[in-house]
């Protein structure tokens, strides 16, 4: 169902997605949400990845994952669930914001939703403590700059904030669990991309004749697609494991979520490479959708960490010797 809805996503309104329960997936039913968990989120994000939805579902997933765990933010949830309050999280690694009193100043680098009504931010207060705050997306003092982006299906803005009124949601909030849920959402999106690329490529090479045979009958092509299938199944398994841990084994969530992001990211990188290459010339044209998937995969690695960076995060989590060398 999610897949069908998202297929038409170019014109899909946010309210419509919300009405279908796709925005408030992780919001409890009593707050108007779907009362789902990470496994449901993975299903939706996989469908969004397959169709490369340009709805900011990943942005929303990050925001909801952060808010769902905060008692002080309960009043925000119904609006988010019904679509009237579109929320985004300015990723902490791309932000530099300070908090004085109840006002924030600074800048938040690529933010995933240009049109959010509510922006969650981690700001540093005068004592140096990280504080989770939120402010209205159209507050006075916020300048939104639309960015020239690699992946036009995921528009980005930079937010410059000058003395913007902010609401304090949590001091010394631990965002790691919420970011791990975001990693699962991202990984599931990558699974959807991989599945799409494999499916389309199999269909293409089955029909395309060269040298008197379908190119899908040439063994080198077959074996490469088999390798891609292996990557896809590994990625699916990794996402399933992480989602299961989010629900039942939170102590394993950080490492399994990172493992899912790594495995699914690698699968998607291979998938889009073969998607273009095995489509030959047509796959290199603007008209063919392949490049949009290439762009999304490259952009996700750039925003959320390259394979190398994720591996170093995992090494930290595993306590391998020689740590703290992976800051960019």
């Amino acid at each position: 169902m999610a897949r069908d809805v998202l297929s038409g996503s170019a014109g899909q309104g946010w309210a419509e997605l919300a009405a279908l329960g796709l925005v408030g997936l992780l919001i409890p039913e009593e707050a108007g949400g779907s009362g789902g968990d990470a496994r449901d989120l993975a299903v939706v994000m996989e469908a969004a990845g397959a169709t490369l939805s340009d709805a900011p579902l990943l942005s929303g997933a990050f925001a909801v994952a952060v808010l769902a765990g905060l008692p002080d933010a309960a009043d925000l949830l119904p609006g988010i669930a019904d679509g009237s309050l579109r929320a985004t999280l300015a990723l902490p690694q791309h932000s530099s914001v300070t908090l004085e009193g109840d006002r924030v100043t600074g800048s938040a680098g690529p933010v995933l939703d240009p049109d959010a009504d509510l922006v969650l931010l981690v700001a540093t207060d005068t004592a140096g403590t990280p504080v989770l705050v939120c402010c209205a997306g159209d507050a006075d003092g916020i300048t939104r700059t639309g960015l020239t982006v690699l992946d036009p299906t995921r528009p980005l803005v930079r937010l410059d904030l000058t003395d913007v009124p902010a609401r304090i949601l949590a001091r010394e909030a631990d965002l790691d669990p919420a970011l791990a849920i975001g990693s699962i959402a991202l990984a599931a999106e990558s699974v959807g991309i991989t599945d799409h690329a494999l499916r389309e490529t199999v269909a293409y090479v089955t029909g395309r004749q060269q040298f008197g045979r379908p190119i899908g009958s040439f063994q080198a092509v077959k074996h490469r697609l088999a390798d891609l299938l292996v990557e896809l199944e590994a990625a699916r398994s990794a996402v399933a494991l992480a989602a299961a841990c989010a629900v039942g084994a939170p102590e394993l969530l950080p490492v399994t979520a990172a493992a899912a992001q790594l495995t699914a990211g690698n699968a998607a990188a291979l998938a889009v490479k073969e998607y273009v290459q095995l489509h030959g010339g047509i796959g290199f044209t603007w008209e063919h959708p392949a490049h949009r998937y290439v762009r999304r995969v490259r952009a996700s690695a750039g925003l959320f960490g390259s394979a190398h960076e994720i591996r170093l995060q995992i090494a930290d989590l595993l306590g391998l010797p020689g740590g703290n060398s992976h800051v960019r």
């Binding site: 494999l198 199999v202 088999a226 595993l318 391998l320």
Partner: protein, 402 residues
């Protein structure tokens, strides 16, 4: 399986298994520390004939107790000592068993119980299942695979071992290779050509051959590691009664496929233990640079993913599904884990892998590094697995044959 059997929930089942295990076995000693105890990481067992018999006997004692106590043959019919439980209950049981100090199954046991016994259950006539299965499942009679041949290689259907009808049975002549456990097996399941005129896959029939029958000769093969983990088996005028034929004449190819599908499934957890040992090796280095930290983390992730894949297969089984060619995914993931383990370890150990300096947990890795390539060949090469996936899962066209 009888439909009436009441299936315990997984939780009930695991609790009961744990209770029984606690009665008959000691908990596994988890106090063994890094740097002491066995540092063995061989991927193929390498024993003298005497050692092989000794280890086999020790395992057999345990497997008999398990069977006799109702904890063996879980997926099989009560008529042959089983409990008609879903296939994945065997894995649930093993998870519990892993916490206890019981003999490590050597390869011939899963070959007998997980690969060949199910094929007998599927293809045997009632007289055969009654005659063979209890003995096989109780490990009284172990059974090896007599499949591979030098000339046939990956093209199993090209077997040349002939079975010709004579008096009350068949006369077998041929040469099989890469047989594990041939020296301790009572039976060998042999794939033979019975009709040289039929189309390649059609003229094949499977037989259970007594390994002590006149004309059967077993010779160890020395492999790359320097050890002898496999055998070649000569069949010279071996008489096999027709009652030991498994499946109809000409259906041997399908019998073989039943065994091979189970083998692929069984290979999914290959290499995980050694990979985790390699991650431990990295963890015990005084310092690691970012590249080695990343490589060790990557290998750790592979083990997680490989386990997760196994869990998904188990979920398919528990939903009543029959995992088919998808099991090839597991085998390819496993052989890659084996390779990546070799590469990480070689980089970490450097000269300690070149010459034995006597340090714990160093030289032992040569057994892994030299043995690992064997699993990309044995049990269907990586290439065969890829072809299975591309044709049977992705539905890509078959190769033209000249």
């Amino acid at each position: 399986m009888s439909a009436e059997t009441i299936v315990p929930t997984p939780e009930e089942f695991r609790r009961a298994a744990r209770g029984w295990l606690a009665e008959v076995a000691a908990p596994r000693d988890t106090s063994t520390r890094w740097g002491s105890g066995s540092d063995a990481v061989a991927v193929f067992e390498n024993w003298t004939e005497e050692e092989e018999h000794r280890y086999t006997d020790a395992t057999r004692d345990w497997e008999r107790l398990r069977y006799d106590s109702g904890w063996g043959a879980l997926a099989f019919d009560p008529a042959v000592g089983g409990r008609s439980l879903p296939t994945h209950y065997e894995y649930l049981y093993r998870m519990e068993e892993a916490d206890f100090d019981v003999p490590q199954r050597t390869e011939i046991f899963p070959v007998t119980c997980q690969l060949i016994a199910p094929a007998i259950a599927a293809w045997g006539i009632p007289e055969q299942t009654a005659r063979w299965l209890p003995k096989l499942l109780r490990s009284d009679e172990l059974t090896c695979q007599l499949f591979s041949e030098t000339e046939a290689g990956s093209d199993l259907a090209a077997v040349r071992t002939r079975a010709v009808r004579e008096s009350d049975g068949w006369r077998l002549d041929g040469h099989k290779v890469w047989t594990s456990g041939a020296r301790v097996s009572t039976w060998g399941l042999a794939v033979c050509r019975t009709d040289p005129d039929a189309a390649k896959h059609a003229g094949i029939t499977a037989f259970m051959v007594r390994m002590d029958a006149p004309g059967v000769t077993v010779r160890p093969i020395r492999q790359m590691t320097g050890g002898e983990s496999f055998n070649e088996v000569y069949l010279e005028g071996v008489h096999v009664p027709d009652t030991d034929r498994l499946g109809p004449v000409g259906e041997g190819w399908r019998v073989t496929q039943t065994v091979l599908a189970a083998e692929r499934l069984d290979s999914g957890s290959l290499g995980i233990d050694n990979a985790l040992r390699a991650v431990d090796l990295a963890g015990h280095q005084p310092d690691l640079d970012a590249a080695r930290r990343a490589a060790a983390a990557d290998l750790a992730v592979r083990t997680l993913v490989q386990r997760a894949l196994g869990l998904r297969v188990m979920a398919t089984l528990s939903a009543g599904g029959q995992p088919g060619p998808e099991a090839s995914v597991g085998k390819l993931v496993a052989t890659r884990t084996l390779r990546e383990t070799s590469d990480l370890v070689a980089d970490l150990l450097g000269p300690r892998l070149v010459a034995d300096d006597g340090s714990w947990g160093s030289w032992a890795w040569t057994e892994h590094v030299l043995g690992a390539p064997g699993y990309s060949i044995a049990g269907g090469t990586d290439e065969i697995q890829r072809t299975i996936l591309s044709e049977r899962v992705l539905g890509l066209p078959r190769e033209p044959r000249r």
